[in-house]
Amino acid sequence: MVIAIVLLLIVVGSVLFHWLTPWWLTPLASNWGKMDDTLSITMAVTGLFFVVINLFVVYTLWRFRHRPGVRAAYQPDNKKLEHWLIGITTVGIVALLAPGLAVYANYVQPPEDAMILEVLGQQWQWRYRFPGAGGKLGGTDARFVTGQNPFGLDPADAAGQDDVLVMGNEVHLPLNRSVKVLLRSHDSLHDFFVPQFRARMNIVPGQVSWFWLTPTQAGRFEAMCAQLCGIGHPTMHGYVVVEEEAAFKAWLAAQSTFAMTLAPAAPAAGSGPEALSARGRTLAQTKGCVACHTIDGNAGVGPTWKGLFGKTETMEDGSKALVDDKYLRGFIRDPKSRDIRGFANVMPPIPMSDDELDALVAYIKSYGSEPVKQ
């Protein structure tokens, strides 16, 4: 009889767990409340079946446990009962499917007046693009992708010149405006998922996928990559800031357009070491370094820059090297030249001019200490 008691406890325990669990949906921040409702309906229907069937089993185990001298009945079939059961089950299934498909019909038909946001997924960071004043996104192709032009925008396409490019991981959206999120990648499958938005979609290189939503809560929400895309998959940490229309417009105006990124880089205001380092910080964003290198001491896909300059790094083969100016420059120019122990050798060579390299090294240096000659 232990098994019957245990099954009963499991049923009771599961129901209790469900009522008391601290782990449930994140607070909804979009218009997709109906998805939550359908989830609840599904939970209710399946929960009912789970409890009823299991309690029936518990009762049956107790009532028909083996007792000496008592034999089983002979009842190989009962067509009427089978038909009833099929009927009830079908009703349950329809009760689940109908709301589910109704919500889905809404999901696949974005509002005509939705604004456009493009998310570019890249191993291993997010970038974003808005259509500019012209209202149309410029054409792109993988053959145009460079370190300078990670979106692969066609420089000859006039529509792309005014596209607003957001090079870092954080994007802003206006509150209460529908947005159709276009999704692109040049390298791997990704998936832009903000749990509070509920809506999401995989990103597939070679095509443009999409989903739509209306953000209904202001706040700063975390976006994660939800389709395995290599070892940096867990580090693709994005942010979506939802704010009032006015604040959004102000933020948007402060971003660069494609045309601006094409213009030769203006010399940094002032040329002291601080300005150089500040320029390096911007470059770390725009060149994509932040996808793999942190400044807070945590290792990402690549080593953290905190404490990097001046330390003695160990290579895969056990040899050691001092991380000084020469080391950094040589490594950034040719990442395959060294195999650092504890890290996969996947850093791409990132094209940059010499004074960009100066700025970047200055920035990295600012997190380290003077190298102690051995």
Partner: protein
Amino acid sequence: MAYADTEEILHDPHTFITKYVWSQDHKVIAVQYASIAILVGLLGLALSNLMRLQIGFPGVFEFINAERYYQFVTMHGMIMVIYLLTALFLGGFGNYMIPLMVGARDMVFPYMNMLSVWVYLLSVIVLLASFFVPGGPTGSGWTLYPPAAILPGTPGHDWGIILMLVSLVIFIVATTMGGLNYVTTVLQARCEGMTLLRMPLTVWGIFVATILALLAFPALFVSGVMMLLDKTLGTSFFMPALVSMGQVTGYKGGSPLLFQHLFWFFGHPEVYIVALPAFGIVSDLISVHARKAIFGYRTMVWAIVIIGALSFVVWAHHMFVSGMNPWFGFFFATSTLIIAVPTAIKVYNWVLTLWRGDIHLSVPMLFTLAFILTFLSGGLTGLFLGNVSVDIPLSGTYFVVAHFHMVMGVAPLLVVFGAIYHWFPKVTGRMLDDRLGHFHFWVTFIGTYLIYFPMHYLGVLGMPRRYYNYENYQFIPASAHSLNVFITVVALFVGAVQLVYVFNLVWSTFRGRKADPNPWRACSLEWATPDTPPKHGNWGAKLPVVSRWAYAFNVPGAKQDFIMQNAALDAGGVEEQPKSYGASS
């Protein structure tokens, strides 16, 4: 079906090598399949423990870096689904049970049967070789999605993925050889009186699963060959124009979604290849240990056939958020929820078999009851994922991981355990130790429930799967990390206890209590062999003749509470014939 005298001589082994190594005897081949599967399954278990160590205690175990983590994830998944479950149910149980349960001397193609197990072993060796090649095994996830699987940024994107794909191709050859055997044997080698509708449901489950395997594995073959060519010869079946790690690649025009369609056209029937034999076995275990005919035998057969057929039209429910044509979602959600109906019928019928039965709580029965609970749970969560709009926020989270472990890992594995406890006396002539059996049962059942039930809620929260760590994600509360610690500890304990089970298997083979030829007093033919364990040729001088179905339990008026299939006709217990169409009831 009278059988004329011999013209061809059945294989007849004399030496140790021909009896136990290059054996053409289905029973030996079955044990070979099962042994290899269980050994590689233990490796899969160890890999899962390593994964859980990282999830529960991120960063503590330095040798589990991101690369290795994803390699463990991938190899764990592939080993468990293909090399353990498929091989064990079809090659292990299929080989052992089918000829015995249908009254044949052996499979119809014994030589090809022998070849299939050695080819299977070769596929395992090639798979394991990927641990030792430069770059290590592939870390692309068991689903092997391109483009990442063959590009830098994913571990094992050179030799690892190549060996994985080659191993799968070899496995498919082995499975096809075995599959031709199982299906042809069921169709052609049944003994006199054994009509299709008198076969035990174990045979029906494995039979339909094998047909699924024959038709579904080609899709994996196609996708595997095309990916191999993309990797080794630069074709662009699945590879669009790409910029990988800053380098423009030479690919263009290919479609990653094409791979996914092909893979899941295989992948969904694959889960039924694992589930259907489990369903069949459960029906037999319940009826024997509750001394009652399986409720609704014909409906159960139809359910198996319909589930098998429908399994080919639901595949894209694995792709609802893949970026495929959104309108497909309507069709696949509908077909997926339809398949729930015959599946639910099976659950009802198992439970109704218990109703008014004479329930013996033996170890096999305990595992069967645990199966009902866990399969019910896992199957119901499938309804969440099959309902497209509910799936959207759940896809790629731990909800999916919990669902498929419950329904593919826990439930079928409980059936494997129960089935081995049930048939061990037939295979070895000895009983498995009962106390160790109870211990193994309770730890495994309660442990796996504790692992996977709470995991669903992490998925609802939005916790993504295939994450090496969750540093800096604020929306995940500290309590979720504590739950991960709990799950890891339970998983390690449950994993360790499986070694107790392996010990029981080995020890009891040599020292177990000697068993009756039919200790559970079952009706099906495998218990009627003249020798236990059955000798080569199974039946001695004369093949059995069958007079009834396999579920003549507690037939009114019979002396004993069971009548074996091959008992004389006048012993009664013949199954009811369905009334002809149009007759009044």
